[in-house]
Symmetry: C2
Subunit: 365 residues, 2 copies
């Protein structure tokens, strides 16, 4: 993994002294101390990430990596693999859930084809605010029951693609990223990656994804179990786990986390697959964790396990399980509001509002 | 309460057939069935409230009622009563937390002086999007340990004021309201109202509000206990409970819920005080409940109790306890995104995406 060292070397943990300065400012604002709860923690971390008491969330971008999975040969999803390409076209036309959520959050949208198997239906004109990056590392991964999903070179290429997409966002002045994914079969991949990272059983980490029936669910658990035994039994090597069991979109998202942290941009993780990818990035470079927020808790059982591995609390609990970055994009408004309260509120002094301490002093005096 | 009958008669429960039509539309959209979780439920209810499969959330208004409380004579808050007027001025200048959150949600802001005790510092120019309604029913309530907080006539006037403010919003084309409050001492009032509505003990429903110390906390619990014994022991009359133990801003908010339901406008309730007011409205007219969403779960212990009384699940869990409508306004983005996914997403058919059933049919065929 020498190729990633230059990125790792640019990622530093956030500076705790910025956190302290931000907490002191919070306590001067016209509200009872700590009464904005998690909004205060978010704003303080954003201040530390951006190294300023005037953090900004005025340019938001949702970035979706798409890829296909050879493991769909084992009938682990109720949807055919072609749906990945069809949904990419739907994103580009502006008709998917993530388009509506991104519009609500006033966020741009970048779709990255990191490894879609089927041809993507031609789109004549992209909707405004939508960008399409065509950089597939291969057309779908290999079936991991037969061989590693990606070669080392392919996995590395996908990670570096993610880093590049983050650097592009940084150049555009983006100050908040929501990460999302699309890939039929990728809950199976994410389950295998999670089982390998946590050493938990396939049964514990595997859920029904987009909604398989009982028979397919048992098959999916068995596939995850066999995949982990075949490639990653007892392995602590996150890159090896990612390339043998993961996929191009998972590797791309891991790279996005690395690249965003290197540029000091906060990233909101989405559901199970996005968080499993983020967990790989954190295993590769632990300081990445300081730059991550977790958007929501999905109903996919592996998600809570990955959140625990990341040691992160989700911002939203809305029983969503769609992916595409929808939970992360929805949480952008929470981060935005957190930062705006921090930067736009008056202080007790500037607003001429009596504060608690002052009242107490008067009572004593 | 004959004066409220004309309002009650205009409030009807939502029509379940609209819910069914909305659920059918949800299942045609390009996502696995139910994968948007609570967003789907929210959008379906918005469709039923507005009686259309094209519900809209394009004009949002945060409405804050402010009032003071005679019970502050008993030293139940760490802040002096003057802070209510000072914070109203802060809202009007745009420097409070709710201003920042409302701007994030692209919502207008209406501040209603329903009964502030101190003079409100003069504001020379209102910020854009802010409206100030000066209609105090009296300058602060009476100390409920000595006499009822409001007369019947005052309480009724405050409720009707709330109805009027809702009607104004309806005339302006507002299709989503977030309700908030400001009033030093009003967690004590809300605790007493909640204890009376639920027949629970003062200890169960009373919290530390803006942050009283142990001594003041014990005093606050005793005050709540005595107030309920004095005015509302075993009373099931919500209007009597509201006027003897509540306040002008609580009565105004109860009226706002009634008035909004009469105009078929959805209302997002905020924290403990707002939800206690909403619970009074629902006790007066149960069909109001269909029009209410609960924005968040605050850390004030009485809030969870009132949410249970309302039989509502909160949309956000962010450990906030500020009031002002901040939790409700934050949840506006969730409702907005829910409605936009519902109205803006492509269907499987229009997007040319293979759906699960279709794939299954092909497999059978």
């Amino acid at each position: 993994m020498n190729e990633l060292q230059p990125i790792f070397s640019r990622i530093a943990p956030i500076d705790r002294s910025w956190l302290e300065r931000a907490v002191a400012r919070q306590d001067s604002l016209t509200k009872p101390p700590r009464s904005l709860g998690k909004l205060e923690e978010i704003a303080c971390r954003m201040a530390a990430i951006q190294q300023t008491l005037s953090p900004r969330v005025d340019r938001k971008r949702v970035i979706i990596f798409a890829g296909d999975h050879g493991i769909t040969e084992e009938a682990v999803s109720p949807y055919p693999s072609e749906v990945t390409a069809q949904m990419v076209a739907n994103f580009l036309r502006g008709g998917a859930a993530i388009n509506a959520v991104a519009r609500t959050a006033r966020a741009e949208l970048t779709i990255v084809n990191a490894g879609v198997a089927s041809p993507i239906p031609a789109i004549h004109e992209l909707s405004p605010g939508i960008e399409f990056v065509q950089r597939p590392v291969r057309k779908g991964t290999r079936n991991f029951l037969k061989e590693p999903a990606l070669t080392e070179e392919e996995a590395l290429r996908a990670i570096l693609l993610g880093c590049e997409v983050a650097a592009d966002a940084a150049r555009a002045g983006v100050n908040l990223i929501a990460m999302g994914e699309m890939g039929i079969g990728n809950t199976t991949s994410a389950s295998a990656v999670t089982a390998a990272l946590t050493q938990l059983s396939a049964v514990a980490v595997t859920g029904r994804g987009t909604g398989v029936d009982d028979e397919a669910f048992l098959r999916k658990q068995a596939v995850v179990d066999q995949g982990v035994r075949l490639h990653a039994q007892g392995s602590g090597d996150a890159f090896h786990i990612l390339r043998t069991l993961g996929g191009a979109e998972l590797a791309g998202l891991a790279g996005l986390c690395l690249g965003a942290a290197a540029k000091r941009i906060a990233v909101i993780c989405d559901g199970f697959i996005a968080c499993a990818s983020a967990a790989v990035a954190v295993r590769l470079c632990p300081a990445v964790a300081d730059y991550l927020f977790c958007g929501h808790l999905s109903t996919e059982p592996g998600h809570a396990i990955v959140l625990e591995l990341l040691d992160k609390k989700p911002l939203l609990h809305l029983d969503m399980r769609l992916g595409e970055g929808t939970g992360a994009a929805l949480a952008m408004s929470v981060v935005d509001a957190a930062v705006r309260t921090f930067t736009e509120m008056a202080t007790f002094e500037s607003a001429g509002v009596s504060d608690k301490q002052e009242a107490a002093k008067k009572a004593d005096g």
